[in-house]
Symmetry: C2
Subunit: 391 residues, 2 copies
DNA sequence: TCTACTTATGGAACAAGGGTGCGTAATGCC
DNA sequence: GGCATTACGCACCCTTGTTCCATAAGTAGA
């Protein structure tokens, strides 16, 4: 709007506005009638007709067969948004995995993929694994690389505004990698990179536990606990991309989260890294403690409660700073109905000023990749609905 | 824009867009020529002419005398934004004062006012003092109450989204007051109420130390230390209006800020409240310690440093949570070149992950009232430039 | 099978807004 | 006093969108 109100406009901007409105209504799904569409958008039928033929020329809309037999009168022409006119791709690159989701322009996920990567892989090897995974995914569903409109990737650590890994303690050889540029070489479309907790927040708001919440915080409890925040409906990154890192204050207890649980097992007895490279020894140990707590092992349960009490201070600091509507707790250490989330639900509110809902993630390990997908889809939407330049 | 893209538009919305764009260009100040204006907005001269005559009908624009003698050719008609077509009012209501600023539609401050209120005044008395102060201010400059387009007020404590004082430890008898409704009775225009630190943040961004910074935090060091945050260029209030209250965590050391300094003087020797009711005994004592530190008193200086070290944790928590571009420190306890700000500048960065500028407020005691004014002016701007309804 | 009714279509006539171009008015300079 | 210069005011045309109406293409009932 600001762009719009700065420079005045020809009648053509009116057409662009109406095209965007029509596209938006059409993308809601279904195969509306011309008249239905006109009524919904608030335009006359002839105008809508003109807009639609223009959108058809751009390849974004097709006419579908009219449905006869339903109702009285002459069957109406029906139109459909061509969701397959383009695709968006979301990546999750972490210490042990590469995860991918591909969606069409409707945001419908059409394919997913997963590949294990060794913890101690070099940055080059990790990027090669990404390249292979992407190629496999695209080949499986038969989507051309040129059909991608936007790509986004999430990764642990602090990601600078230019998409460089400014800080990363979790993935070896990862710090300093200009990830956006490296990935940019693989795709003929814009590539965005962001912190994993930030993207998990986007995902939870999109199709997870925080649907339609405009002010929420997502806690990603993994080896290190990161947080992402949606503020006023928009992802907040901070000046240097480091927002949500309250864990740095030692007294707020968000560092080495998994290690607190793992300490139960004497370090000498920790198993070596799994052969599939899917999780490190600390994560494995932590997950065993969580499982034991779930089974009713009282020593393990106490350890979980202690972890929750430790984490509560950091989470409360974030809640006090932002006063969010809700906090979603996710990451490797969390499953729905978990003892950890229950413990946090007891430990955090007493430290807060306002009632804040605490929910477990419903997306599990897919959260980050889905969030990356959502970020890419946001870019797609911006492209679809932009009105400040000729199509 | 979203509003715009949802419902399609007549040619009339085009006119509204162009009117808004022209008004925006015109309000930049000066008395531009018709052609200059047309060039700047990107419209043709006849169109601009039509828009201007419409704006003149609405009383927002006047033609001024052409300036002959300057340059060749026929003198051009010149136009001016009628800043006096309306006014905005900002209030600061705190424990000891009522402060007011009145501005025209250009945001130019045309009058200010200040009145002392006794600390132990009842809510009713405090509101009466506000009413009197407003009447005096308006009478002084000869502005009708009906000429007010928007009013905003700042006050210590947590202000709920509906404008109720949900929590306030600083002003007696203030908690629970439905301030927005009470003030609403005094004015025939919208009235907004917000937390004082939030408004101070707005003010510092508008004409203080944080000009044009879209991500900043304002620390208001008074009896209790509050914080306000601008995120992505917009004020962040939180779901319940309680954002920025990290001070609640005891280990973050933002509670009873002034008292830390005042403790130097044994409580028995504290002077009684000043006859003018302008400051409480604790504030007075705190200010004496600050002044002593400024003069070089080493004991006082050490006390200030200790306070800074205490506050640093809370400020760092906020900085880590939000990763702002800069932090502005203001409030009663701060003057430019102060030892407190210097001490914070040393104490905070080591706790942070990213380089964050720390600056002293340049607005002094006016910050909150100016921020309230800015909030009211934002509402004025929204009204001036709205395009989603007929004028 | 034919007729009446219903609903959508397609195009013509009309209105609003914006751009272009040209004759004309008002000023400064020589 | 004439000329160059600059801006004005108006007429004309294009784009976009709306209203209105005759017509087409179905269904339901006789």
């Amino acid at each position: 709007m600001s762009e719009l109100s700065l420079h005045g406009g020809d009648p053509s901007v009116l057409r662009r506005i109406n095209a965007a409105a029509t596209l938006r209504a059409l993308r809601g799904g279904g195969e509306p009638t011309l008249s239905e569409l006109a009524r919904e958008v608030g335009l006359s039928r002839p105008t809508t007709e003109g807009v639609l033929s223009e959108l058809a020329d751009r390849g974004l809309v097709t006419e579908v067969a009219p449905r006869s037999g339903r109702g009285l009168g002459r069957p109406a022409r029906r139109y459909r948004f061509r969701a397959d006119a383009g695709y968006a791709l979301g990546l999750d690159i972490d210490a042990h995995h590469v995860r991918l989701f591909l969606a069409d322009l409707d945001g419908e996920v059409v394919a997913g993929h997963h590949a294990a990567v060794a913890l101690n892989a070099s940055a080059t090897e990790r990027l090669a694994a990404v390249r292979v995974a992407v190629s496999e995914l695209l080949a499986t569903v038969g989507v051309e690389r040129g059909a991608l409109w936007a790509v986004a990737a999430g990764t642990p650590g602090v990601v600078s505004p230019e998409g460089r890994i400014a800080l990363c303690t979790v993935v070896p050889d990862w710090e300093g990698v200009a990830l956006a540029r490296e990935l940019g070489r693989m795709f003929p479309c814009p590539v965005l990179v962001d912190n994993d907790a930030n993207l998990a927040a986007l995902a939870e708001r999109w199709r997870g536990a925080a649907r339609d919440s405009d002010d929420m915080v997502c806690v990603l409890a993994g080896p290190h606990t990161g947080m992402g925040a949606i503020i006023g409906g928009r992802l907040h990154r901070g000046r240097w991309g480091a927002a949500g890192e309250v864990g740095l204050l030692p007294e707020l207890g968000l560092r080495d989260t998994a290690a607190v649980l793992a300490e139960a097992a004497p370090s000498g007895t920790l198993p070596a890294e799994d052969s599939d490279g899917t999780a490190g020894p600390v994560e494995r140990a932590a997950e065993r403690v969580l499982a034991a707590a779930q089974r009713g092992d009282s020593a393990a349960a106490e350890l979980v409660d202690r972890l929750a009490a430790r984490m509560a201070r950091g989470i409360a600091a974030m809640a006090l700073a932002l006063d969010p509507e809700m906090i979603v707790v996710g990451g490797r250490l969390v499953r729905p109905g978990d003892r950890l989330v229950e413990a946090l639900r007891r430990a955090v509110p007493p430290l807060c000023l306002t009632p804040v809902r605490i929910e477990a993630s419903t997306l599990g390990e897919d959260a980050v990749a889905l969030g990356a997908l959502r970020l890419a889809l946001d870019l797609v939407d911006e492209e679809l609905f932009r009105i400040d330049r000729p199509a």
